[in-house]
């Protein structure tokens, strides 16, 4: 099981701040593709990915129990 977090514009597009995906041992890229079948995820490729609060890349492997966050371009400060 993977926990997936959305923020800002992505959160509004998905309509949820958090969903769970019944999957494991897939890459970030595979997760994205899977989500795009269900959700409209505008500008998803501009988003950075964090796994367990650390930035990751498209080919990082996601393990069971991981928390994956889609981080749209930040605008704090």
């Amino acid at each position: 099981m993977i926990e997936v977090l959305f923020f800002a514009g992505l959160q509004e597009a998905v309509g949820e701040s958090k969903i769970t995906v019944e999957d494991k041992n897939i890459t970030v890229k595979q997760l994205k593709e899977k989500l795009l079948k269900t959700y409209e995820l505008p500008h998803i490729n501009q988003a950075m990915i964090a796994i367990n609060e650390e930035y990751a890349t498209d080919d990082t492997m996601i393990e069971n129990g991981d928390t994956v966050a889609f981080i749209p371009p930040v605008s704090g400060g």
Partner: protein
Amino acid sequence: MNKYFWITEDPIDLNDVYEKVVRSQAGAVSTFTGIVREFTHGKRTLFLEYQAYRSMAEKQLAKIGEEIDERWKDTQVAIVHRIGRLEISEIAVAIAVSTPHREDSFAACRYAIERIKEMVPIWKKEHWEDGSVWIGDQQEKISYKDKVPPLEEMNDD
């Protein structure tokens, strides 16, 4: 409150960060505060809304503190960012850096705000009279909708 890097829903007082960095080895303290500006290119902001990936944002702020520690000698850094609804002139972010001498406090404080805008998972939603939008992509100058003002202005708070 023993944290030096934190996210809060409450109004920020500049002394919240200032007092954390004052110490007898320091001769200089630089602070930076980003506050809510009312007009950008003549367009009136009613209020702002900030959202954070809170636990990760606090870690990333602490990481900026570590980066500063590596780059400058004998620094003490504190950073707080507010989330939720912010009115005009309220503080969104406050940074304080103390160092023995002033050159470093300026440089490290400037570094901190630039890094916040690059790597800390916090987002701002502008609320105008005719709508609202999440602001994004400060590096690439792209936003999620078309009706926002030029981003080089919006991002440079």
